[in-house]
Symmetry: C2
Subunit: 186 residues, 2 copies
């Protein structure tokens, strides 16, 4: 499987990868247990600090690891990983070691203990920022404390879940930069 060459990326810009709404893989570690889950319910909350919210229901094996460690990594896969993404979403970490079972590379993160997934286009190391709504909705607000993003291609072919086993694959890029007020752009 392909492994992307990545560079450090400004955490204030993680919206470039997350706002389009891709399915992501969340990796976690607590003591000697590691897990990965497939997750599509996430949104950007703030640029600086770089906050991202997501829903991780208590039924997921990852939920317990994440609540205890208060950390995770949000990994952005591309189309070539679609069968792996579906496989991870259809197995439980209580039964299989997902890194071994799916042949994924666990790489050391810089600021958290949860591993990066080497085969993903981007990896965002996250520390828990706010769990006020964790009991009510399984909602966690994360601060992205370190971001790694592939050098190329410039726009990844992300996958977007529609439910019922159906995915939309990221299509063409269009710019409307010329229509923006200067103060609305970086």
């Amino acid at each position: 499987m392909r492994s992307y060459r990545k560079e450090d990326f400004d955490t204030a810009n993680v919206r470039q990868l997350l706002e389009p709404g891709p399915v992501v893989l969340v990796s976690s570690r607590w003591q000697d247990q590691t897990d990965i889950m497939t997750m599509g319910w996430h949104m950007v909350v703030e640029f600086t600090p770089a906050l991202v919210a997501c829903i991780i229901a208590p039924g997921n094996h990852s939920h317990e690891l994440i609540r205890r460690s208060r950390e995770c990594v949000i990994n952005v896969p591309t189309f070539e990983l679609i069968d792996t993404v579906v496989g991870i979403g259809n197995t439980s970490g209580s039964e299989v070691d997902k890194f071994a079972h799916f042949g994924l590379t666990a790489e050391a993160a810089a600021k958290v203990k949860a591993p990066l997934i080497g085969e993903c286009y981007a990896n965002f190391e996250c520390r828990l920022h706010d769990d006020a709504l964790a009991d009510k909705y399984g909602m966690f607000v994360w601060e992205v404390v370190k971001a790694h993003v592939a050098v190329s291609p410039q726009t990844p072919e992300t996958i977007h879940y529609r439910g019922d086993g159906q995915f939309m694959v990221a299509g063409r890029q269009v710019s409307r930069r010329g229509l923006f007020r200067p103060e609305m752009l970086p």
Copy 2:
């Protein structure tokens, strides 16, 4: 401008339109004031009741209308509306009537006072469910109380914002239904 023919849609399935992560238009009304804002920071929270969270910062003219009315409509535009979506995001409702200025049709909703945008592919009527994190992050959790979705095409050409004036347009559809465990599908 095109106007879609729409039908009632099961609110438990709004994830089919929102989970892929499109930019949406949020319409609101309070007393005699109406507004529309462009919004990309949203996520599904729960299937039933149909809960959706989003971020609407206090700086937006819509914020005040939404906080007072405790209602809104989330409208899903398609590619042909991209210039309108950008225009709406680059003007303030305190200066212009956005429906009139952008030539959009305000249609009556069934359960809220905020208007539907006729030219959008889908319209989700929302009532405020939880504003516990509204002061902290501008986060609102909505219950979709009524959903209207176009009869065709089956998969809309939604637009997805990457920041910096750049958009990704929804690409091809792929099914991986055969890889899902039966209990993971509806």
